[in-house]
């Protein structure tokens, strides 16, 4: 019987899939969360109500339930055929969008009304003012919250083993079955997640430091 170490390259191959899940999920979540966060600050009642309902739904239902609901329920019923990876990315993204919208809502509010007002007095349209003045500041403020979202999403991505996505945990389980050993494979999987969490948040922190505005302390 092969040893666990011989399977190590196979297990580490799962990192690519995990990155796919996390990268795709974060990107989709950003695309959904940023406009929703802005909508919550600048939108009228008609904008805020559906956003609120969306956030409420995706924050209330467990991730595993969402995965099964979309993979076995909503997608087949609406005639889409998504493979497990694509479906997982979509679900992670939809859910992350709900959380990210709150990161961006908070950071836009933190920028304060005065900045947009000053932009308007120069003759900028609301859109230009938000684009040139509010967003660049809000995105900087959002980075630490976003690092947190990365760390959470990374660990949540392991749940996608339930759909058979070939990420780290799924492969670890195959190795466990093949070697009849549990301790070492799961230990390795744990260490891999620790490294990815540490490395990722470290990189995001570097970005945060690099984009910091000189001398400025945000009033968080």
């Amino acid at each position: 019987m092969a040893t666990v170490w011989e399977y190590l390259p196979y297990m580490l191959g799962g990192v690519i899939w995990t990155f796919g899940l996390v990268g795709g999920g974060l990107a989709l979540g950003f695309g959904i969360g940023l406009p929703m966060g802005m909508g919550q600050v600048y939108g009228g009642k008609a904008t805020k109500a559906p956003i609120h309902a969306y956030i409420w739904f995706f924050r209330s239902v467990p991730l595993l339930v969402l995965l099964f609901l979309f993979y076995w329920g909503i997608f087949p019923a609406s005639g889409f055929k998504l493979d497990p990876l694509a479906c997982s990315i979509v679900v992670l993204g939809l859910r992350s969008g709900a959380y990210q919208s709150q990161i961006f809502r908070g950071s836009v509010e933190c920028v304060g009304d005065g900045q947009l007002m000053a932009a308007r007095t120069l003759g900028m349209s609301k859109f230009k003012g938000i684009y040139h003045i509010v967003l660049p500041q809000a995105l900087r403020i959002a980075i630490p919250g976003w690092a947190n979202e990365y760390a959470i999403m990374l660990k949540d991505s392991a749940i996608c083993f339930a759909l058979g996505v070939l990420e780290i945990l799924t492969r670890t389980r195959y190795v466990v079955m093949a070697t009849m050993e549990s301790l070492l494979p799961y230990l390795i999987a744990g260490v891999v997640f620790i490294i990815l969490t540490y490395g990722g948040t470290k990189i995001i922190n570097v970005i945060y430091e690099r984009t910091k505005v000189s001398g400025l302390i945000w009033r968080m």
Binding site: G123, S214, L216
Partner: protein
């Protein structure tokens, strides 16, 4: 004085917030080259007047004209109007993520469509006029309050407005920083830059103000040359106000 010399005209401005009347029919004119002072006790609606004039707050009733164009008309492009009105805030509101230079040039670039190099040149000139060319590359957080407000004045001036509004420009400053801002404002007033100034700085009002409007409860209750108004006000409320200010600042020389 012909119609052409009236830069700004406000007629019967009313504004209320949830049933609370803040402005009860404000009317006045600002002529070209004039420095008009608005003062009055806290809560009298001074800042709301400024905000109603460039529609940062929309008045419930009344009309505003800027150089003959009706600001309050639904068909007027308010962004075009605001390019002609410089606005200086009590809290500076400099763009935190831009250095001083970019704070001044951004309006030229993104609103007026001036090329980047040209906008930079104009911004540097404007910063030089408020004595801050050496601080052009500093960020707002690296500047003192007085310097921030001077950058804000340069920013307001850069878009070449026909009038500048000042909303209590020195109220958020430490006493020793007020002087440098007032110096800049006095310089502009002496150059006959048309301005409308909400302030409690009576020394400034007396030395460069052409007319002072005194507001109480959303009404202009007295108006006249600042010196006269301060010395010979008709109403008790005005008298009390000036007395309390003199007590606070000491009698102005």
């Amino acid at each position: 004085m012909s119609e052409k010399d009236v830069v700004l005209k406000a007629e019967n401005i009313h504004k209320s917030y949830s049933g609370n009347n803040v402005l009860n029919g404000i009317s006045f004119e600002v002529k070209r080259g004039e420095t008009k002072i608005i003062c009055g006790p806290s809560g009298s609606g001074k800042s709301t007047v400024l905000r109603c004039l460039n529609l940062l707050t929309r008045p419930d009733e009344g009309h505003v004209w800027l150089e003959g164009t009706e600001v309050t008309s639904a068909s007027t492009d308010i962004n075009k109007i605001r390019q002609k009105i410089g606005f200086v805030f009590q809290e500076f509101n400099l763009f935190n993520h831009f250095n001083a230079l970019r704070n001044v040039s951004i309006g030229l670039e993104k609103v007026k469509g001036v090329k980047k190099d040209e906008a930079k040149k104009i911004a540097l000139e404007q910063l030089a006029r408020v004595g801050l060319q050496e601080h052009a590359h500093k960020y707002p957080a690296e500047l003192s309050g007085g310097q921030k407000q001077r950058v804000a004045i340069a920013r307001a001036r850069a878009i070449n407005p026909v009038i500048i509004f000042y909303d209590e420009p020195t109220s958020a400053l430490d006493p020793q920083l007020i002087g440098e801002v007032l110096e800049v404002m006095k310089g502009l007033a002496k150059e006959r830059v048309t301005s409308l100034v909400v302030t409690h700085e009576m020394g400034f009002a007396q030395s460069v103000g052409d007319e002072m409007l005194f507001m109480v409860d959303g009404r202009i209750v007295e108006r006249g040359p600042p010196q006269e108004l301060i010395m010979r006000c008709k109403y008790d409320v005005t008298k009390k106000f000036f007395e309390s200010i003199q007590e606070l600042y000491g009698r102005e020389k």
